[in-house]
């Protein structure tokens, strides 16, 4: 299993040349896997130095550690009882690096170490006719609603520290499922209502009517959303996305996206 994990870590360097080194190690100090070229001394130094931080309880333990120099950064992320360390360039495609290290890697590590159980998703084929067979006149009434897409530009670091900060937007990872049909608005995705309820609990009376979707390739989009009521067990973890949004995101059925609510400022 360690060998497989090592191969996957090696692939990260192919996917993002900004990544130079990746190491997975246990909180007990055991080195689990590392990319080629990483010396045992480097891994050991990482483990020893992290273990020597013994007073982290006052900030709630170590979830993440980032060391930045002018051109390079080293990030260590906690993944359950293991740590995942990556050395990468500070320039280049940070979104790709972030997607790989914060989304893909933790999932793969959990899978490799048997900490994640994935329920196989079944695709149900039906021979039943489509829900609505609309006449051309009806089509004209229902279809052409102008989609309300907004392209996202990466904002500068917020410089208003005196405002009360909002809780950090929770990001949820979903697998894309395509939806189509005459009654499907092309600018609205559908998300598990339980996830939406959790967001509402977090934000109280703050309004959010749109969500921010990001693919692993770093493409982003903000669009409206609707809850999926009566969700089936095999639809958990799915986001239902209309064809138009899938095209804009360059995503596809079965691909992973990260979604978070866009909360309006008070």
């Amino acid at each position: 299993m360690t060998e497989e994990l090592r191969s996957v870590l090696g692939e990260f360097r192919v996917l993002s040349p900004d990544i130079t080194t990746a190491v997975v190690f246990g909180s007990d100090g055991e080195a689990i896997a590392a990319t080629e070229g990483t010396t045992p001394e480097q891994t050991q130094a990482l483990i020893t130095n992290l273990n020597s931080i013994t007073h982290a309880q006052c900030i709630g333990g170590i979830q993440n550690l980032t060391i930045q120099d002018v051109n390079t950064q080293l990030t260590v992320n906690a993944v359950d009882e293991t740590y995942f360390a990556v050395v990468s360039s500070r320039g280049g495609q940070q979104k790709v690096v972030k997607s790989l290290t914060e989304v893909v890697a933790p999932t793969i590590i959990r899978l490799a170490l048997g900490k994640l159980v994935v329920e196989p998703t079944k695709t149900e084929f039906t021979t039943e006719p489509a829900e609505v067979k609309a006449e051309p006149e009806v089509l004209a009434e229902v279809a052409p609603e102008e989609p309300a897409f907004e392209s996202i530009t990466q904002p500068e670091e917020p410089l208003e520290p005196l405002e009360p900060p909002l809780p950090k937007a929770p990001t949820t990872q979903f697998m894309v499922e395509k939806i189509s049909g005459i009654l499907v608005p092309p600018d609205t995705v559908r998300i598990d209502s339980e996830v939406i309820d959790k967001w509402r609990e977090l934000y109280g009376n703050r309004q959010f009517t749109t969500v921010h979707i990001e693919t692993l390739e770093g493409k982003t989009l903000t669009c409206k959303f609707k809850p999926i009521k009566d969700i089936k067990a095999n639809e958990k973890g799915m986001i239902q996305v209309p064809e138009r949004i899938i095209q804009i995101l360059g995503s596809g059925r079965g691909k992973l996206v990260v979604v978070k609510p866009v909360v309006e400022e008070a």
């Binding site: 900030i59 333990g61 930045q68």
Partner: protein, 130 residues
């Protein structure tokens, strides 16, 4: 008159709880910047130390814990950076479940700033390094 390195100095107006000695102009300038940063929403305290002086403004009663953590992170990050060829470390950020710690070394002056997780640390790094 030049002040002795281990005599108590007048605290800056905004409540550093311990101030021992006074060192150099960089130290004084950093102390003033940190006093401003301390007022930011989400910043819960800081420690500034050089070889001969220290200013500590950390919440009680965990002050020793915070100070120890700051020193440990500073030392450990040096060891890690050396092994991974990070030659000129600008900043070290440690995030926990509840708070985060930003450590910056400027020559002999070492800074540790504790803040809420929502606080914009990148802005603070820029403010100190510029």
């Amino acid at each position: 008159m030049k002040q002795n390195a281990v005599t108590e100095t007048q605290p800056l107006p905004d409540t550093p709880t311990i101030a021992v000695g006074e060192d150099n102009s960089v130290f004084t300038s950093l102390a003033s910047t940190l006093t401003e940063i301390r007022k930011l929403k989400g910043v819960i305290g800081y420690i500034l130390r050089s070889n001969t002086a220290a200013i500590v403004d950390l919440p009680q009663p965990e002050t020793p814990e915070y100070a120890m953590l700051s020193a440990q992170v500073s030392d450990s990050s040096k060891g890690i950076a050396k092994q991974f060829n990070l030659t000129d470390v600008e900043s070290v950020l440690v995030e926990g479940k509840t708070h985060k710690l930003l450590c910056i070394s400027l020559g002999e002056n070492k800074i540790g700033i504790f803040m809420e997780k929502t606080c914009a640390h990148a802005w603070i790094v820029k403010r100190i390094l510029l």
